[in-house]
Symmetry: C2
Subunit: 313 residues, 2 copies
């Protein structure tokens, strides 16, 4: 192994243990969730969104996330991320020791009301309260606080979402105290031209360093083309899900995060450095399959295999 | 409908009736092949590779291609393309009246020997003889003559294929009399960085106007990302197959052309003008399904549907 790589580094943020598990009806036991996180970190994944801090009666699949965060924190060099829907969730996540917390902000207000039963103004209040709580933490346990602009590329309830509303939402979230915003194609509506355009517009409004990641779905088959468009714009963090597990339970018909295995293949083939060992990553599927035998796992690379003589470009 | 569009036009070249049908073991009756071609042209597809001119004892699925070419020629505004493996096939294709003929040239000589049992030198001889035959035709029935650089992105038998060999092959083919070359990801090995690099290198060697089309597969999930990379380089013709039917029967493990339905969605969403009506295109699947009930048809758009409020960008 070379001591240092000159290839540009891309951070894959695995969201399967959160976005994947909360979308399937079966409940994965906590021990299996731990095994999944451990195996994927061992394959070289450096950031994992391990769960969300929601009441177990609302999303029982996410019960025990605090214990999972505490477990994952012990894994060296792993950034432990968690989703928080509100201030209460943020309090729990910080207490558990999450390195990074993300709150979803639905640019489509209809989707926001359906998903978290809050208006935009109410969400901004939550964000402001969380930002204050984060700022009060001693530096060594202060999490990175992000907001994800859900339905940024269109909404299954409202239809098209205006670029201006995405930009204004990003500005409000940064003003309310988020360190960063991300663009989320919650509904799988995005196309590469739109990805490029929205990244440029949001960055122009809030600064390049305040938009470094995107969350893409492959619902309409263009997920990796959208990822390529985002890379071209200088995005350095891409969310994906092992086996494509997951989607959004409150966006009807929308399913399918981009598949981590396929994304890592594309990036490594192009000469990016993800730090991830593809054969080891493939074996993580067994952990998920053993715990959720009835859930289909997706991915082209697992079916087709790597090209003959494949090597990091 | 607006009288003229200011959107950049992209030509989708449907290859399902050739690449698709020769890859499946079932034989589609000639009448169904005609119905497929007619329905897809009616949906706005302006170029269709309707078949290949090979002996029916080698590929029985392609029997009757001459009659199909004659039928398709009567469809207004449709470019009727055919694949020819050699001089004999070219003679038959010209006699049948094909507007465009393509010969596959495997950059991997191992693949060439396996696929058409000819060395590179022998293939160049065929190309030279076909070019002479084409030149002898009266102008009104002279077909456009292309060569497809098969296995340009890697070979399932040889592994990596060098860029230099692709460039030298392109130069030899143009020198031998092809009007144009295309890059073919026969094996589904390509990645977007390689697509960009090879297009630039080949164009630098033979001229931009001598490489305007690429033939991509989605075997490893990155087919549409590769298409995006090709568009960025100025490629204006993209091959694809309805329902993703097809692949290469002599490249083990390689399957799956990019899906016409998904490609058209991506292009139209990005603001390109393909001239294709997506709902009409979707209905063409019924024609194929009725004639080949046991063949799986792929595609994300057929499963997920168009985004709510979708309109040509």
């Amino acid at each position: 192994m070379p001591e240092a790589s000159s290839s540009p580094q891309i951070l894959i943020s695995e969201v399967g243990p959160r976005d994947g598990l909360q979308s399937v009806s079966a409940i994965m036991p906590l021990e299996a969730r731990k095994a999944w996180v451990a195996a994927e970190a061992a394959a070289g994944v450096r950031e994992i969104e391990v769960g969300s801090f929601v009441p177990a009666k609302v999303i029982p699949q996410m019960a025990g996330t605090a214990e999972l965060v505490a477990y994952a924190r012990e894994i060296p060099d792993l950034t432990v991320a968690a989703l928080v829907p509100n201030l209460r969730g943020a309090q729990d996540a910080i207490e558990a020791g999450a390195h990074k917390i993300s709150i979803p902000f639905s640019v489509s207000e209809t989707h926001s009301l359906k998903n978290v039963r809050r208006t935009h103004d109410q969400m901004i209040e939550q964000v402001r309260a969380i930002a204050e709580l984060v700022a009060q933490q001693p530096e060594e346990q202060r999490p990175h606080f992000e907001a994800g602009l859900s339905t940024a590329f269109g909404c299954t309830l409202e239809g098209p979402v205006s670029d201006d509303l995405v930009v204004r939402s990003a500005e409000r979230l940064i003003e309310a105290g988020c360190a960063e915003v991300g663009l989320s194609d919650t509904t799988g509506y995005a196309n590469p031209a739109q990805v490029r355009r929205l990244i440029r517009k949001v960055r122009a409004a809030v600064g390049d360093d305040k938009l470094t990641g995107v969350h893409l779905h492959n619902t309409r088959g263009v997920g990796l083309a959208n990822a390529l468009a985002a890379l071209d714009e200088g995005i350095t963090t891409l969310d994906s899900s092992l086996g494509g597990l997951g989607g959004c339970p409150f966006a009807p018909g929308a399913s399918g995060n981009i598949v981590t295995e396929d994304l890592v293949f594309m990036l490594e083939a192009m000469g990016y450095d993800t730090g991830i060992d593809i054969p080891a990553l493939m074996k993580v599927r067994d952990v998920v399959r053993d715990a959720l035998p009835d859930e289909p796992l997706y991915g082209f690379i697992p079916d087709a295999g790597l090209p003959l003589g494949f090597a990091h470009a």
